[in-house]
């Protein structure tokens, strides 16, 4: 049993108890019904401002379930702002304000009284720079479920999660060593494991491979391809080739606006918007 008193003081706050369903008892995908016909997340005329500056302008976007959706665009186009809005990470930016709606599970996450903490459990996030806790590998994965009242076998959960993050074979003999002893690519997979240990429905990934070498990047991309069997993945990347390799759908943003969105192979072979064509062929951006 992990002593959650080890958690940093800043995180020792009132966290709603959530019963985390053991993975083995989850109904198989087929029994969850056809999810391909309804969007998991829907942005409707979503505008996000930092002060008076509109970083995201009236974006309308549907995220399909259990697919990888990539958001591409030049630096400063608003793609990370849009991504962070999906689990209300922009709440931590004092100057940020939101107009429009962002629906998750049919509810507007910016509606009054919406539980942002629960939202962030269901919509996990992986950041550009790997940021494991200063704890052991085991505790990095176990901490979240335990602090949220997980009642199942934590060892089994950690193993299953690390298997799913394609990291188990590399760390199974050193689970109680520091996460900081891992390579950058391993740390990033550990961060992915930490996120999926909370059994989210959606994973937000903000340039997850930017700080990694090509081999580690390939491992992460392979992992993303496996993850979409269970999770909806939304990926922000400035690497167009990566978006082409790993995503099912691609959304192109420019100056805060959503210019075009579609099936990835069509976006990269016959985009309909000239600005998309110019961006993907490197004529600008």
């Amino acid at each position: 049993m992990v002593d959650v008193a080890e958690s940093p003081p800043a995180l020792r706050r009132e966290i709603p108890r959530v019963v985390v369903t053991p993975l083995a008892s989850r109904p198989p995908r087929e029994e969850q019904g056809d999810m391909t016909s309804s969007a998991v997340i829907t942005a409707e005329k979503l505008t996000i401002r930092y002060g008076s500056f509109p970083a995201v302008r009236a974006v309308c976007l549907e995220i399909p379930p259990r697919q990888v959706t990539a958001i591409i665009g030049p630096s400063g186009c608003g793609k990370s702002t849009l991504l962070r809005s999906m689990n209300r990470m922009n709440d931590f930016v004092p100057s940020a304000s939101v107009e429009g709606t962002l629906l998750y599970g049919g509810q507007n996450v910016y509606g009054p009284g919406y539980d942002a903490v629960e939202l962030r459990r269901r919509i996990g996030m992986v950041f550009q720079k790997p940021n494991p806790f200063p704890k052991s590998i085991f505790k990095n994965v176990a901490w979240g479920p335990l602090i949220n009242g997980y009642t199942g076998n934590i060892e089994d959960l950690v193993e299953a999660t690390l298997q799913r993050a394609a990291l188990w074979d590399e760390v199974k003999d050193k689970l109680h060593e520091s996460a900081y002893a891992l390579s950058g690519g391993q740390q990033q997979r550990l961060c992915i494991a930490r996120a999926i240990a909370m059994q989210p429905e959606v994973l937000l990934m903000d340039e997850p491979c930017s700080a990694l070498d090509p081999i580690a990047t390939t491992r992460i991309e392979d992992l993303i391809d496996q993850l979409k069997d269970r999770y909806t993945v939304i990926l922000v990347t400035h690497n167009m080739q990566q978006a082409a390799r790993v995503s099912d759908r691609t959304a192109f943003m420019y100056m805060g606006e959503l210019i075009e969105v579609g099936v990835t192979h069509a976006m990269f072979t016959k985009p309909t918007n000239q600005r998309t064509q110019d961006y993907i062929t490197g004529r600008f951006g």
Binding site: A266, T269, K270, T281, G282
Partner: protein, 220 residues
Amino acid sequence: MTAHFVDQLDALQRRSLRMASLVEDILQEACEAVFDHDDALCRRVVARDEDVDREEVAVESEVIRLLALYQPVGSDLRLLCTVLKVNNDLERIADCAVNIAERARHLDIHAVIPDQNDLSQMVPIVRHMLRYAAQTFGSHTAVDVDRLFKEEDAVDAFYQQIIRRIVADAVKAPANMASYLDVLSIAKNLERIADHATNIVEDVMFLATGEIVRHRHWQT
């Protein structure tokens, strides 16, 4: 994508267009050789086909190099795919022209078929189709494709007419069978060139729209 890549893309297309021009010349010479019974012209066609073969390999190698180094997408990717396919069609057209020239070397068509109306009408149509295909490839747009359809139908009709004519004549004069087969071969190769020209236009339609339009009727 870098300006360097764009320059190389432009250079590749110019090279491919020069190859198209070379193939047009070869076809013209092969057709003249048929009616003029010009052996020197026949040999020149065979020699120039070697230039086409070398260019085909060079263009294909360049396409592969650009694909590997630059991973192009969008219209750049479609352009490289189109160049690759057009390159192949042009090389086949040149081979057909060589086949025509080789038949022409030992065929006195005026003696075998005094009235070559069908063949003499077929030739300019096929040459026009190839000219149109080359222009389409150069401009990346296809206009007046209805005319191309009609020309393709006309070539097919002439080819069928030639077959019927040859069969009838061969029954009457079996001693000339070898010559009749040469005429048939020339007509067949012209018909194949018309098909390749149509293929080129269809490839340009893909370049322009991203839609693959082969094997079906497409609207203008």
